[in-house]
């Protein structure tokens, strides 16, 4: 009887102890250390990030991270296979301590779990293309047929950002066949998934010619209730150390993964130092990492201050993502583009005038060359400038590089070609003005002294031609000159803010053209006043 009572009391005591111990483990780190085991959920079907070996053990890039984490916490490791659908649920139930399972860092997921910064890896979108596909930038795929698999989260945004003509197929097998049969020039794919695909012997000749885009960082996750806990801090410190030491890059190499830009960039960022020698990415007094070391895509206006705070506030309230105002990188890209466009405009105006005047002078001054000049001017006027740019930049440029080893500067070629086209039109109008002047005074001949008079007479058409060439400077973007259009499309590709950027681009160009028109109007007024005096 007594023993029965004691047993009951012991049970109650044990229950109290367990309950109170639950209370005592306010921090999961204590529980982990007490039990001596860290339970981590990883993928089993995503080689080489998480997969099963011949003995059915979980191995891969992410299990390696889990093992290193357990070693740092001085506990044993237990791996549990999780899937994309149950990974966060198991975390919430408490069945696992940490999720390291290709989990993309998104605002929605931050609502239901604690996602740990810094991010430890990132996936992006890349293309698989047959050999010799001649793809050097994403812009080469504009308007091209590109295969994609139904349901991939990036299909829609990729089509919008890069103007792709997407051919969506039902499954991986169908998409593979479509690419092999040449029904599209490339296949849009998650770059971390490509690794497994290209190991297939049939696919070894295929390549991934373009850098990954739409980069989505991956985060390790712990339960939502663990926000701000010791566990979060411990894992966060571990990842920060791995970035600093380059251990993640080594691990990536060990698993034969094509080295990711994200790890290289993050390594560089986390090893940067302030002028006083301290690291840039050091914890602030609040315990947070500085905003420049955090996931830029997920910062909210409360995380930052200054211009960035205002910019993010506008984005949160109105949806307008004005990155060129609050993001230093985008701002510099845009300003550099603006500066390049201004240079192109000035270069084209000067170049067109010089070529036009020289052509007219030669035609008038050397009668035996007149026919030749007229013929070349006619050809020049009837050649689309874009085609001329391609011919000289790629065609002639290639021959010159292989024969003489000289490379051309794209912006110089754009200025030259556009000036040629416009110069030819100016030759015509000048020659017509000369004919008219000869009607008035039979002895008129175009020389250095007669040139200003001819230019005055042909002022309106010459200015119209110059304004046209100013408007056409954007063509330089076709050969990747980093001017305004190139800068804007690059920002759209990164941020997906096509509506904002295209309006900004349009307004900027509109104002530039208006400025040039104003300038010429002022010049005309000044000349008229000069004449009156």
């Amino acid at each position: 009887m007594v023993s029965h009572g004691m047993l009951r009391a012991a049970c109650v005591l044990a229950l109290i102890a367990i309950l109170s111990s639950q209370e005592a483990f306010a921090d999961r780190l204590d529980l982990i250390q007490m039990r001596g085991v860290l339970i981590v959920g990883v993928k089993s079907d995503y080689p080489p990030f998480g997969m099963l070996d011949a003995n059915g053990r979980l191995i891969g890039f992410e299990p390696d991270l889990a093992a290193e984490l357990a070693r740092r916490l001085n506990v044993r490791l237990q791996l549990v296979a999780v899937s994309s659908t149950n990974r966060l649920q198991k975390l919430e139930e408490g069945a696992i301590d940490v999720v390291i399972a290709t989990l993309g860092d998104t605002p929605q997921r931050r609502q239901i779990a604690t996602l740990i910064e810094p991010n430890y890896y990132a996936s992006g979108v890349a293309v698989v293309a047959p050999p010799n596909a001649h793809l050097s930038s994403w812009a080469d795929l504009r308007g091209k047929k590109v295969c994609a698999t139904q349901g991939a989260y990036f299909n829609r945004s990729m089509a919008q950002r890069f103007l792709l003509d997407l051919q969506v197929f039902n499954g991986t097998r169908d998409t593979k066949m479509a690419l092999r049969d040449g029904r599209c020039v490339a296949w849009l794919y998650d770059d971390t998934g490509i690794v497994g695909l290209l190991n297939d012997p049939e696919w070894t000749s295929y390549e991934t010619p373009l850098p990954s885009t739409m980069v989505s960082p991956w985060a390790m996750a712990i339960a939502a209730s663990e926000h701000g806990s010791e566990l979060e801090r411990a894992i966060s410190d571990a990842i920060a150390d791995w970035h600093r030491s380059g251990w993640l890059i080594e691990t990536e190499q060990r698993w034969g993964i094509k080295s990711s830009r994200f790890l290289a960039d993050t390594h560089q960022l986390w090893t940067q130092t302030e002028p006083d020698g301290g690291p840039v990415c050091a914890r602030l007094a609040s315990g947070e990492w500085p905003s420049e070391c955090r996931n830029k895509l997920l910062l909210t206006s409360t995380d930052v201050s200054g211009l960035q705070h205002i910019g993010l506030l506008i984005k949160e309230r109105t949806g307008l993502n004005l990155t060129i105002f609050y993001d230093a990188y985008d701002r510099n890209l845009f300003l550099a583009g603006l500066w390049m466009t201004l240079q192109l405009m000035a270069g084209c105006i000067v170049g067109s005038l010089i070529l036009g005047c020289l052509g007219a002078l030669v035609a008038e001054g050397m009668p035996w060359l007149c026919g030749l000049v007229r013929l070349s001017a006619a050809i020049g006027r009837m050649t689309p400038p874009l085609l001329l740019i391609y011919l000289i930049f790629f065609g002639v440029g290639h021959i010159v590089v292989t024969r003489y080893g000289w490379t051309f500067d794209g912006s110089m070629i754009a200025v030259l070609c556009l000036s040629l086209y416009t110069g030819c039109a100016i030759v015509y109008t000048l020659l017509e003005a000369c004919a008219l002047l000869r009607n008035q005074e039979p002895g008129f001949a175009l020389g250095w002294r007669g040139l200003p008079r001819a230019l005055r007479l042909a002022y309106t058409p010459v200015i119209a031609a110059l304004i046209n060439v100013v408007k056409a400077t954007g063509m330089a973007s076709a050969i990747a000159v980093p001017e305004l259009i190139s800068a804007s499309t690059a920002i759209v590709a990164e941020q997906g803010n096509a509506a904002v950027m295209m309006n900004v681009l349009m307004i900027a160009y509109f104002l530039l053209v208006m400025g040039v028109v104003r300038l010429f109007n002022c010049l005309e007024r000044w000349m008229l006043q000069h004449d009156a005096r």
Partner: protein, 222 residues
């Protein structure tokens, strides 16, 4: 590569490239059609007795003059959705039509200005001078045909983008120059005779009018 081989490659790809050039012509004609309709409306507004309408017509014309078509091409390419749904039917908006729309903006300004002058001449029974609009319009078509090559940057399968397809397919680096020159030949072959013929027509008409030629030519260059 021997000249015979180069010619052979060009001949083999001629149907493909010529088909591309037909697209250039189609894009240009559609752009001219859209631009002429809207330009005519603007010219009509500018000629209407009401001051407010005339001012509006002029303001819109000036707006179109300042819009760079090449930038507008990107604007439309990014901002007009590829497909849109109207009561359960999905309609697609082809890229070539976006190119036509972008180019038509330049045509609007041109037609508005030139038709205004032509209309005034017609009202004054100065019919030959009014008819100058026809050669000017055709010469502007030539300019638009050349500008239609820019549609390649948004992926329209016209002659320039087909050149790039050919170059990738034959993968001969020295072929590149010849393919581009061959394409330039297409533009020259269409535009030069057309321009020359219109120049003749213009001279004839001007002889009728007996007016100054410099002023007229100022307009045709726009």
């Amino acid at each position: 590569m021997t000249p015979a081989e180069i010619v052979h490659v060009l001949v083999v790809w001629t149907p493909f490239l010529a088909g591309g050039f037909l697209w250039n012509i189609l894009i240009s004609l559609v752009a001219m059609a859209i631009g002429t309709v809207f330009g005519a409306v603007l010219a009509r507004l500018r000629l209407s007795g009401r001051k407010s309408l005339a001012r509006m017509g002029l303001a819109v014309t000036e707006l179109t003059r300042n819009i760079p078509t090449f930038v507008f091409l990107f604007y439309l390419a990014f901002l007009i959705p590829v497909e849109f749904k109207v009561s359960d039917e999905i309609y697609s908006f082809p890229a070539w039509l976006k190119a036509s729309l972008a180019l038509s903006v330049a045509v609007v300004g041109f037609v508005s200005d030139n038709l205004l002058v032509a209309w005034q001449h017609w009202r004054n029974a100065n019919h030959s001078a009014a008819l100058l609009f026809v050669p000017s319009w055709t010469m502007y078509l030539v300019i638009i045909v050349m500008a239609s090559s820019t549609a390649s940057v948004i992926g329209v399968g016209e002659i320039v983008s087909r050149c790039n397809v050919v170059i990738a397919a034959v993968s001969g680096e020295e072929m590149m120059v010849w393919v581009y020159i061959y394409a330039i030949g297409y533009f020259f072959g269409l535009c030069f005779p057309l321009n020359w013929a219109m120049g003749r027509v213009k001279k004839r008409l001007l002889a009728h009018v007996g007016g100054t030629s410099a002023q007229k030519c100022g307009e045709c260059e726009r």
